[in-house]
């Protein structure tokens, strides 16, 4: 997890133009005297165990019940919005180009690399259906799903919120996101659908009715947008 920090990364100061800096020993800067960990972009990082993730999710569920999913999603949205502002700054500083002018796939891969380095998993963006106003994100090794294991339902609400918040800020359109397939449902990877609210609402309805990710993909491609 990372939080804003004032700690500057000494290696980055020495090599400001170095882009391949995701090796563990380079990306993180351990400050033993202060007891802090800063990453390449100046965020303060906290190392947590799987017990922390379980405690967070189960504690929240005990407090607010089924609403814990919405709470986690909302936390993710705020996180994504804040991170897009933070990303705007460090991307331009590192590459001397504004995000709006950059190649989209390069931009998005650059955004996610720190997350991969921090242990949030690898991703793959599927924009095949972008002309229809939606896209898919495949997430491998979700920290949340990997921790909870096979519980028979989607659990990565934090990620869904993160993607919704980040893309909403970046494209300046109100977007929503839903996880339509999860490692915690026994699948091999997690799959998220990102798009306008009406499409995501429809997908949520179909998912509740027992539709699979494949069913949802087919219905969206066929042009169904209402439940």
């Amino acid at each position: 997890m990372d939080t804003p920090s004032v700690s500057a990364h000494k290696l980055r100061q020495q090599h400001p133009q170095k882009h391949s800096h995701y090796k563990f020993s380079e990306f993180f800067q351990f400050n033993a005297t202060e007891g802090t960990i800063a990453d390449w972009n100046g965020s303060r990082n906290i190392i947590t165990s799987e017990h922390f993730i379980i405690g967070l999710l189960e504690g929240l569920e005990e407090e607010v019940g089924a609403a814990s999913a919405a709470v986690m999603y909302s936390i993710g949205v705020e996180w994504g919005k804040q991170d897009s502002l933070f990303f705007d700054q460090w991307f331009e500083r590192e590459y001397n180009i504004r995000p709006q002018q950059a190649n989209l796939m390069f931009l998005l891969e650059t955004w996610w690399w720190p997350f991969t380095a921090q242990g949030w998993g690898r991703w793959e963006i599927d924009m095949t259906d972008r002309q229809q106003g939606f896209m898919f994100i495949n997430l491998f090794d979700s920290a949340v799903a990997r921790t909870l294991g096979d519980v028979g339902k989607p659990v990565c609400y934090l990620y869904a919120g993160l993607y919704a918040g980040f893309f909403t800020e970046m494209v300046r359109k109100q977007l929503s996101c839903i996880e339509i397939q999860c490692y915690s449902m026994g699948e091999t990877y997690c799959k998220f659908l990102l798009g306008a609210k009406d499409r995501i609402d429809a997908a949520a309805f179909w998912l509740n009715e027992g539709a699979t990710a494949s069913d949802i993909e087919n219905r969206l491609r066929a042009g169904y947008t209402s439940s």
Binding site: P99, Q100, A102, N103, M105, E124, V171, K173, R221
Partner: protein, 100 residues
């Protein structure tokens, strides 16, 4: 001519199980050793002439990523695939914004 994707063992029989080592042993890394020269020298046939040819056969999607039906159709139609790649390369945030 030998099938480009077929790797043979020391006895010249097709291997049923391939390892990364097998692949890398078959690559003519420099690309300077031409097929005709190899054939004339009597050296064993190698399946890949260049590194690019080798990587073109690699399953980049991985075993876990299931390609969409449309993606599969595009994979079959080479021209459509090239067009999609060109479109992807030219996309910016503003283009993405216009799609939603």
């Amino acid at each position: 001519m030998t099938d480009l994707t077929q790797v043979l063992d020391a006895q010249g029989q097709p291997l049923s199980t391939l390892t990364v080592d097998h692949f890398f042993q078959q690559i003519n890394w420099s690309g300077t050793q031409q097929r005709s020269a190899r054939e004339n020298s009597g050296a064993p046939e190698t399946p890949y002439d260049t590194v690019g040819q080798f990587f073109a056969t690699f399953p980049w999607q991985g075993a876990t990523a299931a390609p969409s039906a449309r993606r599969l159709a595009i994979d079959i139609d080479e021209a459509a695939f090239d067009q999609l790649l060109a479109e992807d390369d030219a996309l910016t945030l503003d283009d993405l914004s216009a799609l939603f």
